[in-house]
Amino acid sequence: MPVAPRLHVWVPDYQSSHGGIQTFSRFFIRALLDCLPGAEIEVLAKNDDSYPASIAGGRRTFRCAGWWPMPYRTFLFAAQLGARAIRRRPDAILTTHANFAPFARTIQAVTGVPYGVVAHGIEVWGARSRGLRAGLRGASRIMAVSAFTRGRLLAELGLKPAAVGLLPNTFLPEQFTPAAKPNYLLRRYGLEPEQPVILTVARLAGAERYKGYDQILHALGPLRRQQPRVRYLLGGRGQDRQRIERLIRELNLAAHVTLVGFVPDHELEDHYNLCDVFAMPSKGEGFGIVFLEAMACGKPVLAGNKDGSVDPLLNGQLGALVDPDDVPSIARELELILTRRHPLAILQQPEELRRCVIAAYGYDRFVTLLAGQLRELGFAPAASAS
């Protein structure tokens, strides 16, 4: 491989939306620039329609297709990807979403350019599409964001373990730091400082009910008998909201639940610091960056034990893992955390929790892991990235 390789990076979104894969994509590109400072990197984003200043200049270019109307966007973006790859002949194509893998395989067949794919969660678990399966099998390198996803890929696609590496999500520790409960949020939600608060932040879409907020609502029934002042803050927006509001009425939980709506990025840290436990007993999480962010704020987290959530919680070393379908168990664990009686000592040690999560998933660690993956692809990352 050349000292200054030429790379094409295909991402669904860079800055046009909020979500786990988008956040991962931003970190991935940033770390790529750190690992291969001399590389010519061309980022192609499907849904963006403006140019980020952070990528401009030098040997970096950013192209996007977000201004195309949705019916044509996929086709035109694919045409752009193909044209750029054929014209520029990069040394490799890296994509942060598996949906691009089938097309990368086509490009590989035409041009011989190898490709690497990042695999997150539900988009690859139990993949039935022949194109997707072939796209994943044809990749020179798959980078799974969690051991859980990696295990499923190996089992379901019959891949060799050496072909699938691990590149877990990351976060910026300086953006998520422990602090007192912010007064403005206490006032906004009508809370007392000592009032126990459970927080979930998720997209409230029908397709994302696997996040487990329904189970928490059901768990509030028994929990409020032990914790009469408990308040559940559910952040996020989406079309599932009306159904959730109905459920809250049916369960007679109006006094215990606040639907806080969309939580903007600049208020996320404050919301973590507002809560006493961050709970998301999900069943379909590829990883769950929100767990890292909450733990970096020193907050105990509760997650499901049947998906990629086990990774950020280090298999239960950093947080409480529960059966996401077991409502009584969820209520019991929440009660133990809120009363500081949980047997996992680190849940009562915010500074230690923060230290551990930074050591395991801080950005520096991410760069080191990406450097390892790039080495597997035949590149020579900068020494500082190792």
Partner: protein
């Protein structure tokens, strides 16, 4: 409303620290004619200084820099906190004791109690610095929309900050060098885009951000940004919710211990503000307007009719070319960073101050929130047309290059450049608001400052626009965060303070925005400011039905006469054709600024 400045962490002998602080204070003296004060701590290398325009608590108890009762914290504050009385009551209930009625003391107490999170509690416009003697940290913050400015230089372990760039430079601790990237952005937009400033190494603390300085390092963080949601208020509630939010905002902005006036043009926004002030019971309201001989510019008759209708004490100043020209030199001298705007605010502020007013409300911000600019129609059209045009391979690019090269007006040149690139909202916005094309800007910058540098070449494309619910919302976001923030608010602050006048902007209010952002764009940004007119039906029909004109001056005629020779020279030496008066003015204002600030 005042001027603030400071030096933190300077390893300087006491007399040098004092001299640097004194120079900064003098550079800000026009901002605060009522009082001045300085805090010096040579042992820690800290100096804070303040020039005061007294609005709340006119007594000496409001003197700044202000120390906390235990002496640990020192604050310098510029702005107004409209909910200071409510915050004070809460703090008193929690055991705090106050010695003044000023909002500065409340801000200090809020910081002591809540730390950086205090900014979420403050309703108003502000820029301040709190120095913590015990922890040796400094905390600087700027209000959500950036009504009040704050500039800083953080290097070599020290922090220098002030309300104006010239005051930062006056410290003598910052090398005087122009910032190429800033000059490039100035050629493109007619104003320097934050966080850049015209001086290399001096940054503008972005709106809605705070800065923490500790151990010689500065960390800047965003605490608020204008995110449009486009849902959350039912259609039936939109008009009453808008009216209630507007009334509350105007009511908040009337908090003062001195009389408050209104800048009243013939437009909807200023009429709305004056109408709501009267509806809130504002007695003896004084309104101010500038009129001209030229009926193409003068809105004097409309404003006078409105003033009669509202029963205000109306002041009109009929300006002629001679009076305008006489003020232009003073106006340039009062400028901080270069701008192609601001003269109108300078004149009307001076007029209001001469009539004894210290505080005036303005309708600034109404166009950005309620879709009052042509850009709300132009940008979506350009983007959509661009998308379809780009289906024909090479056609838009060829047409664009042809237009850029052969177009006879700056507008055609910008349109040409826009066509050569992908049709983004940012590009279309620049096409409507821009001054020079990037290639012209590159030639100008080479002429003025030498080589351009690769990183600044195409800043029209490289600014981030967070995704908004609709294209029209994107325009609103751009108008709020680019034109309003970098031009209108910056010019308004400098030009009103040049006369020692506090300008308040009830439309530029976080709480108001947080209501309006929940209204779908189709209603909120409906043409003709329909929502605003429905929310404030008292606005008289001669205003409501009049075509939009903006607050314009017959500038072209005045400057052509006054600076005819200068403009001839500029045109003769310019590396790009200067086809309009504002392009000439743009070059002239930059030349003046570079000379005034000693940047070349």
């Amino acid at each position: 409303m005042c001027g603030i400045a400071g030096i933190i962490g300077a390893r300087l002998p006491g007399p040098e620290l004092e001299a640097g602080t004194e120079r900064m204070r003098l550079a800000l003296r026009n901002r605060g004619p009522d009082d001045t004060g300085t805090f010096l701590s040579p042992a820690t290398g800290v100096a804070l200084t303040h020039t005061r325009l007294a609005i709340l608590d006119l007594s000496a108890a409001g003197h700044q820099p202000m120390r906390s009762p235990d002496g640990r914290h020192v604050i310098v504050f510029n702005g107004e906190i409209y909910n200071h009385a409510a915050l004070r009551r809460g703090l008193e209930a929690a055991g705090e004791q106050f010695t003044s009625h000023s909002d500065t003391e409340v801000v200090l107490a809020m910081y002591r109690r809540h730390g950086p999170a205090c900014v979420h509690e403050l309703e108003g416009m502000f820029a301040f610095c709190v120095w913590d003697e015990r922890e040796r940290t400094a905390f600087l913050a700027r209000d959500p929309f950036g009504v009040k400015p704050l500039y800083y230089h953080a290097q070599a372990g020290r922090l220098v900050f002030a309300s104006e760039v010239r005051a930062v430079l006056a410290s003598g601790l910052v090398p005087r060098k122009p910032c190429r990237e800033a000059v490039f952005s100035y050629w493109l937009f007619g104003t320097v885009q934050e966080p850049l400033t015209i001086a290399d190494g001096v940054h503008c603390l972005p709106a809605g951000h705070h800065l923490t300085w500790q151990d010689g390092h500065a960390r800047v963080r965003c605490y608020w940004e204008p995110q449009i949601i486009g849902e959350g208020i039912a259609a039936a509630d939109v008009v009453p919710a808008t009216r209630a939010a507007l009334r509350e905002s105007v009511s908040r902005h009337l908090v003062s211990d001195v009389p408050v006036g209104v800048f009243l043009s013939g437009g909807v926004d200023s009429t709305c503000v004056a109408t709501l002030v009267r509806a809130l019971g504002g007695q003896n309201l004084q309104t101010f307007c500038i009129t001209f001989d030229d009926p193409a510019f003068s809105e004097g008759d409309v404003a006078a009719s409105t003033a009669r209708h509202l029963g205000t004490q109306h002041h009109q100043w009929k300006m002629d070319a001679a009076a305008g020209r006489a003020l232009l030199a003073d106006f340039l001298q009062a400028s901080d960073q270069p701008s192609i705007d601001g003269f109108n605010t300078y004149c009307v502020s001076r007029f209001a101050r001469e009539r004894g007013l210290k505080v005036v409300l303005s309708g600034l911000g109404g166009d950005e929130l309620f879709g009052g600019y042509g850009s709300f129609q132009l940008v979506p059209k350009l983007v959509r047309a661009g998308r379809w045009a780009s289906l024909i391979p090479f056609a838009p690019m060829l047409a664009g290059h042809a237009l850029e090269a052969l177009g006879r007006s700056p507008r055609m040149g910008r349109l040409g450049h826009y066509l050569t690139d992908r049709p983004s909202a940012a590009g279309a916005y620049w096409c409507g608001r821009g001054i020079f094309t990037p290639s012209e800007a590159a030639r100008l910058i080479r002429h003025f400052l030498g080589d351009v540098g690769e990183a600044v070449e195409d800043a029209t494309r490289h600014f981030s626009v967070p995704r908004q619910p609709t294209l029209e919302d994107t325009v609103s976001y751009l108008e709020l965060t680019r034109y309003m923030r970098n031009q209108l608010l910056r010019d308004s602050d400098v030009m009103s303070m040049a006369s020692g006048l506090e300008l308040r902007v009830p439309f530029v209010d976080r709480k108001l925005f947080e209501v309006l952002r929940q209204i779908p764009a189709a209603i909120r940004l409906a043409p003709g400011k329909e929502l605003l007119l429905r929310a404030v039906p008292e606005i008289p029909e001669w205003v409501a039905l009049a075509p939009k004109r903006g607050f314009a001056f017959p500038f072209e005629q005045w400057i052509a006469a006054e600076w005819g020779e200068v403009f001839q020279r500029i045109k003769a030496t310019s590396p790009v054709p200067l086809r309009t008066w504002y392009q000439c003015w743009c070059v002239h204002a930059l030349e003046q600024c570079l000379t005034r600030l000693g940047l070349r």
